[in-house]
């Protein structure tokens, strides 16, 4: 008998109400995708050509991957402001070890992955064991990782292995670029994680950590692992950036941090955790990349691009928020009287 609860959807039968509120975010981000793809097809010449698709997916993949990494962390109730510099550091380590030599590729990739996971583990321990506020703790570690990246690779450069860049540019069956395949693989891996006990525990810890603890979910372990997984996945974004650019850069991923958060919010993931998913974040990242391209192709003057881009993102987030705002179940805290 919560007297501050609104009526609205309360009149619908329970299962219908549950279904609606569960699928609303997916509908919202799907609509955004449809709009941006349609606009791109109109404004961008050759958008659906093999070359156009390949170029588009090559830019989607890094942001999508880092958004997926951030989503895993956010779902568990955390946030990682260092995720961009994890990308930078792991790609710096990879490119320095790679030295443009295909034979050293496996070693370089493994080292990059290990670097990302180690950074994530460090974040996770700081947050879950030392109990520092995630937003401040990862802000601090982002400087640490960025600083180490500058020590490893002081100036832009380094040579990426030709096999890596070549594969990244490949297009299968005329219309299926390799980055698109990787995007699908990323999504399928997420579904696997979601289906595991760990996936369920991740949502439980983000949704109500105390309830999870009393239900015998190992809360700290789940948190540490979420940061570690996030770091590892972020390092994959580093690999994608290397493959796309062909060279290393000690500031490569830094600006992607906030993009990753914007993408997951557009994708319907709740910032305080426990609700949402990587699927939405991937689409959110694609939408975000498309908007960036649209601003360019719509002929916005160079000086105004950043401004217009920002405004469009605000509109997209607002739209996603409006469509997913549920009355009833979410009210309690808001204390509204509608």
């Amino acid at each position: 008998m919560n007297l501050l609860r609104g009526t609205g959807t309360r009149d619908l039968p329970g299962p219908v109400r549950s279904l609606l509120s569960v699928h609303m975010p997916a509908l919202a981000v799907g609509l955004l995708l449809l709009v941006t793809v349609t606009a791109s097809a109109i404004l961008q010449p050759g958008f659906f050509s093999p070359y156009g698709l390949s170029a588009s997916f090559a830019t989607f993949l890094p942001l999508a991957t880092i958004a997926a990494a951030q989503t895993i962390i956010v779902l568990g109730g955390g946030i990682d402001l260092s995720i961009g510099t994890i990308v930078t550091l792991s790609s710096a380590v990879s490119v320095v070890l790679m030295q443009g030599d295909d034979a050293r590729l496996p070693l370089a990739l493994a080292a990059g992955l290990a670097t990302g996971a180690a950074c994530g583990l460090f974040n996770g321990l700081v947050v879950a064991v030392l109990r520092l506020q995630p937003i401040v703790a990862t802000f601090a570690t982002s400087s640490v990782f960025g600083g180490v990246a500058l020590l490893v690779l002081p100036t832009p450069g380094g040579e990426v292995s030709p096999v890596l860049t070549g594969t990244y540019r490949m297009v299968l069956a005329m219309y299926v670029p390799i980055p698109a395949v990787l995007l699908v693989v990323l999504f399928l891996s997420w579904r696997l994680l979601r289906g595991s006990r760990y996936g369920q525990h991740l949502y439980a810890v983000g949704g109500n950590a105390e309830a999870a603890y009393t239900s015998s979910v190992p809360v700290s372990r789940v948190r540490v692992l979420s940061y570690t997984l996030g770091g590892a996945v972020a390092s994959l974004a580093g690999v994608a950036l290397l493959a796309d650019a062909g060279a290393g850069d000690p500031t490569l991923g830094t600006e992607l941090t906030l993009g990753s958060i914007a993408a997951l919010v557009i994708g319907g993931t709740r910032l305080r955790g426990g609700s949402g998913g990587v699927g939405g974040a991937l689409v959110g990242a694609v939408v975000l990349s498309l908007i960036q391209g649209l601003v360019f192709f719509a002929g916005v003057p160079t000086n105004a691009r950043e401004f217009v881009y920002g405004c469009v993102i605000i509109a997209a987030i607002a739209l996603a928020g409006l469509l997913t705002a549920r009355d009833g179940s979410a009210s309690g805290a808001s204390g509204g009287t509608r």
Binding site: L3, Q200, A204, G207, S215, T337
Partner: protein, 549 residues
Amino acid sequence: MDSPPFLRMSGVRKRYGGVTALDGADFEAHAGTVHAVLGPNGSGKSTLLKVLTGVVGPDAGQVRLDGAPLRPRGPRDTLAAGISSVYQELSLVEDFTVLDNLVLGVEPSRFGLRDRRAALARSLPWLERFAPAFGGRVPVRERVSDLDPGERQVVEVCKALVRDPRVLVLDEATASLRRGQVEVLFEVVDELRARGVLVLFITHRLAEIYAVCDRATVMRNGTDVATVTVAGTPEAELLELMSGRPSAGTSGSRRTAPVAETDTAPTAPARTDPGADPAAPPRLEVRDLTGDRLHGVSLHVRAGEVLGLGGLQGQGQSELMAALFGAGRRTGGTVLLDGAPVRPRSPKQAVRAGFCYVPGNRGVQGLALGRPILENLALPSVGRRALLGVGLSRRREVAAARAVAERVNTRYGSLDDPVSTLSGGNQQKIVVGKWFPTEPAVVLMDDPAKGIDVGAKAEMFDVVAELAASGAAVLVGSSDDRELVEVCDRVLVMFEGRVVDEVSGDRLTEDTLIASAMHVTGADVAAAHEGHPTRLPDPEPRHAEEGGA
């Protein structure tokens, strides 16, 4: 009980800072029994069970379960030992479906993936067993956030049962349940007892102890006072054991007119008998109020009068308070405060008009639990002390808060401690007391004593009487008829959004209230009532007998 006890806790000690919660408590219970743990607030019963469930680590003492020592470091260990607890603060993830909550932490899995079919096989029997408590449905795939508080509590019970416990701890598990739901729970408890499960039961409703428990251990001041066989112990004796003094005082069980009078007389000299001065103008008058679940409510309350809202649960009592406080929808009717119409559109406007509101759900609506006692006490009246509307002086805030804390007799460590460090009863006194400095004209209380113990309840209603004595009109909604009889001058019985009966004077007994709530007068409402056979309040048969004697 010749066999060795299944559960034995001995010499358990626990201190929180300077407060001793457990001072060498011993506890024994046998498998296949339902064992009540009783005691006033701060008696240590919650801490004792938290030690058992591993939420709290004891400073000293031993726990042996089935002969083996148990040293849990957390819920994982106790779960492995076969101890399941139904928590008072719910342990459910709101975003999850009922099914996902039931198996949370014990998800069956195959090839590394969660096995939904196995989860369903484990959960479904319990949900089906409790179907009557869900209004006949089996809400496997509904999300917990879409369930009402009673249903969530039932899910919580199912969750404990899915873990197939050897020891089941029910900590105030019935506080938010309707009578029909309690009946199902008690049936299941009987089945568990027959299967050799030990059920530990904490409740403030004595009738439930007599209904379902075999034995009872009474706690006081951090230690066990006595363990008795329930069937051979009269209620008065249990109350004496709990309070440590003859039960005539604040325990409130023996409601006879003289006791009720002496109970409130010293603190409420101005309290008037409504029959004595029917000519006094009403402080609050409501005429034909309509809104959500309200179909034309009329009532009046005089200054210094305590008016009860009784009847079956969910008949518009909460909605009436919400509408008066500007938090609920009002579609028609008039509300007169001291003869002048008021129509607050928000709680803020209502407070300015002279209303204050005391919710039963103190954690959500009544308190900022993590904030200091000082701020919670000062919050409603802060605008009155602000210099030029903005400047606050800590000295004045402290003085104001201290005055209130003293007035409501709250025990606290420091005003800077978070409210969450107080016991439930003391928290509720803060919820009521924080309104004192605003000098409210109308006090609205919606089931204010839910889940607090007998002693704290009596003290809190002393505070209510004092508010009334200061000239406020007090409106109290409660699901506990005995509570209404004790504190109210008159009680209005509500049914389906209308006032159907008024009970006062000599007629004001639990018997009359129960009868009035269930056999409502008027053919139309009587017919409508047939449709709600399970939504009864908690009439307590034992007490009804006593009241009649």
